[in-house]
């Protein structure tokens, strides 16, 4: 740049000094002249116009011609470059520029034309051919640069002033293109050669990248890159990867295939970097992506996605996501298959009754795993997150009721005392995760029923691990489902608190009372509001006199405070601490009320037959047998059964076991759990089901009362809007029919699709 700038400057100066026509002499002797002198400016005429020799043009051209030919032949130039440049400049100044240009063009053309011959000849090796072509191209460029330097003045003046004329460089290119590159044979040989080289490289051979780069630069310089090369190149690329994609898909497993695709894309990018024109980038990459990814999206997903997810192959999944996000609909497809996998796999977790024990933990782990995949592999893509949730919601409800029940039980397990495996924070985290699962459940009423049952047990037996955790769970439920859902549960907590106060007050009143004989017995009463708590079967048993007395005192005390209420005692829920004297010393026995009733009998008699025990305590037969079993056949055998044996028979006798020993002072004697789980569970389910029937009926009547007349479909839609649990349309229809049968509504006489409300 600097060089040319200088050239130009010099050219301008020389133009001034060489235009020796008009010389303006300015005598400015103002400084030296005396004051008062008249200043004179004399302007003289041209002396004479210098003339060129007649044959100047021919001679100069001859000189230039020789020089150009020398350059073309790569020979030494006779004249100095300075001289030649000057010659051009002179010719231009004397208006010989257009002729000069024409001559030069003709000269160059002649040369180029002559040079095509070797390229037309039969050529054996493609590589040699390409090299030769490259050499010639390089030479041509060299020559044109040289020539341009000499004819620079022409380039700067004549060419610039005439827009239709190509610059010398362009002229050179044009000649090269017209005579060499556009020659069909030459072009096809060259392009084919290039394509073969690229293909070789794609097959792993090392090729002369500089050669490729140079030749491709040539094509783009000649502006035939796109027409002559790019089209064919892309077609070749397409064919190659089309067959490669199909072949590799069959041979390779999915991760390997993905690696391969990734490698290919990298290679192609490198290719772009090293020798392809950057304008090809988009199309090339798109072609590769289409052939290697787009065409096989479904194939890849069907063949390998499940396995990758199953084995938690994070890196491969990440790669898959990245590759798929390159192509249109790639992530959508991936997302759909991801969704299908979750549903399929999730179903197996939920549906098999044999896996019930581990279902909730499996669900939590599964969710963690899938969350992790979405977060790390799928870039937290929102679409995938939503799809994940949708899939969970779908499969969890594939099995009705059971997941809800098990989740409730899982929470119970975590909240129960003695569960030391988690710290407060960990517990909180677990609860949060549980809530996520809970959110998916459609039949939340089932959860509530079981949760309530378990909560009642925790509260009444005082087995709750932490009040904070209980409260936290409650507030989570409230947040999720609203106050209506938790009002009963909250009521249970409130009952417990009120009971505490009542007990305090009661104890105080007892101290002031005249019942001195009862003061060495402690009584704690939990007042449970009916409706908040699960319903318990009422059992009538015979209580010892002291307890009966105590009960009536409490009854009086309580009803005095809250008149108009009714107290009902629930002996099944009570528990006691008994002080016992054995040979080995005193012990505290922590037992249920039933166990206590039995044990107290042995205060009066050391051996009692079964039938006598039954008449004395009046406990239901099965219950009594279980109670005795726990006392005489369990771990802590405070009674001895005669004869010995596991099962309690009606003819058995029981004896107080004086030799009982235990290293602990306070001993808890566990009740034998009835095989109640299935029965109890059935009952709870049945109750939920019943509740739902009523809710459906109520909803139908409510809607019909408001609308008076409604078509079947509209009624069903309304119902689905109102009902919060899953119902099958057939169940709704059954309720509708039942209501029709009970004359709450009727089917329209003329339109069987329409119902009318019957007031």
């Amino acid at each position: 740049m600097d060089q040319t700038e200088n050239d130009r400057k010099r050219a301008n100066f020389s133009a001034l000094s060489n235009a020796n026509g008009a010389i303006i002499k300015m005598t400015a002797n103002a400084g030296t002249g005396k004051p008062g002198d008249i200043k004179k400016i004399v302007i003289k005429n041209f002396k004479s116009k210098p003339t060129l020799p007649d044959n100047y043009q021919e001679q100069t051209w001859q000189k230039l011609r020789e020089a150009v030919i020398a350059i073309q032949m790569s020979k030494r130039i006779e004249y100095s470059l300075e001289e030649l440049y000057q010659a051009v400049e002179n010719m231009c100044s004397h208006k010989m520029d257009s002729q000069l240009y024409v001559n030069l063009t003709a000269l160059a053309e002649q040369h180029v034309k002559a040079n095509i011959i070797p390229f037309l000849a039969e050529s054996g090796d493609k590589l040699v051919y390409l090299k030769k072509m490259n050499e010639y191209w390089q030479a041509h460029c060299q020559q044109m640069i040289m020539i341009r330097s000499i004819f620079l003045y022409l380039d700067r003046t004549y060419v610039l002033q005439n827009p239709t004329v190509h610059s010398i460089w362009d002229m050179g290119l044009e000649l090269f293109r017209d005579h060499i590159a556009l020659n069909g044979l030459v072009q096809s040989r060259t392009v084919e050669g290039i394509l073969i080289l690229i293909e070789k490289e794609r097959h792993g051979e090392t090729v002369d990248r500089t050669l490729l780069k140079s030749l491709l630069r040539m094509l783009s310089d000649l502006q035939i890159y796109r027409d002559a090369f790019e089209q064919k190149f892309l077609v070749a690329t397409k064919h190659l990867y089309q067959s490669e994609g199909q072949a590799k898909m069959e041979v390779l497993d999915v991760p390997a295939y993905l690696q391969h695709v990734d490698k290919r894309l990298q290679e192609e990018n490198e290719r772009l970097l090293h020798y392809l024109d950057s304008c090809t980038k988009h199309q090339l990459i798109v072609t590769v992506e289409r052939q290697l990814i787009n065409e096989h999206v479904t194939g890849i997903l069907q063949k390998g996605l499940d396995q990758l997810l199953e084995e938690n192959r994070m890196a491969d999944l990440t790669l898959m996501y990245q590759l798929f996000s390159r192509v249109k609909n790639g992530t959508t497809e991936l997302c759909a298959h991801f969704n299908a996998y979750i549903k399929k796999k999730g179903r197996t977790i939920v549906i098999d009754p044999e896996k019930d024990k581990s279902m909730v933990q499996d669900l939590l782990d599964y969710k963690d795993k899938m969350d992790n995949i979405v977060n790390t592999c799928f870039e937290r893509n929102e679409k995938f997150g939503n799809s994940l949730r949708e899939a969970f919601e779908y499969f969890i409800n594939q099995r009705s009721n059971k997941p809800a029940e098990l989740i409730a039980k899982y929470v119970d397990m975590k909240l129960r005392a003695g569960n030391k495996e988690a710290t407060e924070e960990e517990l909180e985290q677990i609860l949060d995760k549980i809530m996520v699962q809970f959110r998916f459940i459609h039949g939340k009423d089932v959860f509530e029923a079981f949760y309530k049952k378990d909560l009642a047990k925790r509260l009444l037996v005082g087995k709750s691990a932490s009040v904070d955790a209980e409260k936290s769970m409650l507030s989570k439920l409230k947040q999720e489902c609203g106050g209506g859902f938790t009002s009963k549960l909250e009521g249970m907590f409130k009952d417990m608190e009120l009971s505490r106060d009542i007990n305090l007050a009661f104890r105080q009143s007892m101290q002031n009372s005249e019942h001195k004989e009862l003061q060495n017995i402690d009584l704690t009463v939990n007042i449970l509001t009916m409706g908040f708590w699960p319903t318990y079967p009422v059992m009538e048993v015979t209580l010892p006199h002291e307890l009966l007395q105590y009960q009536s005192i409490f009854n009086k005390f309580y009803l005095a405070k809250h008149s108009g209420r009714k107290l009902q005692w629930q002996p099944t829920l009570g528990h006691c601490v008994l002080k016992a004297q054995f040979d080995a010393g005193p012990k505290d026995l922590q037992v249920s009320l039933f166990q206590a009733l039995v044990l107290l009998l042995f205060n009066f008699d050391l051996t009692i037959p079964f039938e006598d025990i039954r008449t004395a305590v009046n406990i239901e037969n099965g219950e009594l047998k279980r109670t005795l079993q726990s006392l005489a056949c369990g771990k802590a055998r405070v009674l001895t059964k005669i004869p010995k044996g596991r099962e309690v028979e009606n003819t058995d006798k029981f004896q107080f076991n004086n030799e009982f020993t235990n290293k602990l002072f306070r001993i808890k004697i566990n009740q034998i759990q009835m095989k109640e789980t299935t029965e109890e569970q059935k009952a709870t389910e049945e109750r939920v089901y019943q509740d739902r029937q009523y809710q459906i009926d109520a909803a139908i009547v409510r809607i019909m009362k408001m609308r008076k007349t409604l078509s079947h479909n509209l009624l069903i839609t309304e119902l689905y809007k109102q009902l919060t649990f899953p119902v099958k349309p057939a169940d709704l229809k059954k309720r509708i029919e039942s209501l029709i049968d009970r004359d709450y509504m009727e089917r329209d006489k003329d339109n069987q699709n329409q119902y009318n409300y019957v007031a």
Partner: protein
């Protein structure tokens, strides 16, 4: 009730006859004489006398099952013939197997019949009433209350099948399958809603069931029938 009013307004004379009927019954001689004289004109008295032929002295106002049998014999119709149903409908009979005196009078006055032969002439007319879809629908609905045990809200399945056979057996190609379906189902009774919808079903649903919409308002019983039938048809037929 419109029916009662209409009857009262149109026929003033019969009530007159009603009062005299007991007297007339005793006088059989006079009765038979009148009988022969005015042979073709409708006579309420004769009609009533004829009614008495089928009743027992214990319950002179109700025609019971035995009388019914005799009556059917006289008019030459099987008791389970559909014409009997239409006749019962015409009388507005409340209970299958019984006609009360007022039902008898109302129905036969409408038909202008006072002898067995006159009723016989009307039988074709009665049957033809069923050809009108609207009348058929009314009679079909009437049949449910007519045939069901009055102590229960619903009709037991055996009666229902017999009645369906009577009413739809000829016209509904799927009746046989439907009866078969009921046979194997757990249904013990049919309620009125189901009953009415069976007619609707037989009228609108094509034999190949293609136009049946499970999400429609059809009672669950019909959903089950369709499902059952589709399964049956999907099975390869063993021949």
């Amino acid at each position: 009730m419109p029916r009662g009013k209409r009857r009262h307004a149109i026929d003033m004379r019969p009530s007159e006859d009603d009062q005299q009927s007991t007297k007339r019954q005793r006088n059989s001689y006079q009765n038979s004489r009148r009988y022969s004289k005015t042979d073709d004109a409708f006579s309420q008295k004769r009609c009533l006398t004829w009614f008495r032929e089928y009743t027992t002295p214990d319950d002179p106002d109700t025609l019971g099952p035995e009388g019914m049998e005799k009556f059917c014999e006289d008019i030459g119709v099987e008791p389970e013939n559909v014409a009997m149903l239409v006749l019962a409908y015409k009388m507005g009979a409340k209970q299958m197997g019984f006609f009360t005196q007022s039902e008898w009078l109302k129905g036969l006055t409408d038909l202008q019949c006072d002898t067995a032969s006159k009723v016989q002439c009307k039988l074709e007319h009665l049957r033809s009433l069923l050809n009108d879809p609207n009348t058929f629908k009314i009679i079909y609905r009437y049949a449910y209350d007519f045939a069901r045990d009055k102590d229960q809200r619903s009709m037991d399945i055996e009666t229902a099948k017999a009645m369906l056979q009577l009413l739809l057996g000829k016209h509904w190609p799927l009746y046989a399958q439907f009866a078969q379906f009921l046979e194997q189902s757990k249904y013990k009774v049919i309620n009125k809603d189901q009953w009415c919808n069976i007619l609707e079903f037989s009228r609108t649903i094509s034999n190949d069931l293609t136009n049946y919409d499970v999400d429609g308002a059809w009672p669950v019983m019909l959903d089950e029938f369709v499902e059952w039938l589709r399964q049956l048809r999907a099975q390869p037929t063993i021949s």
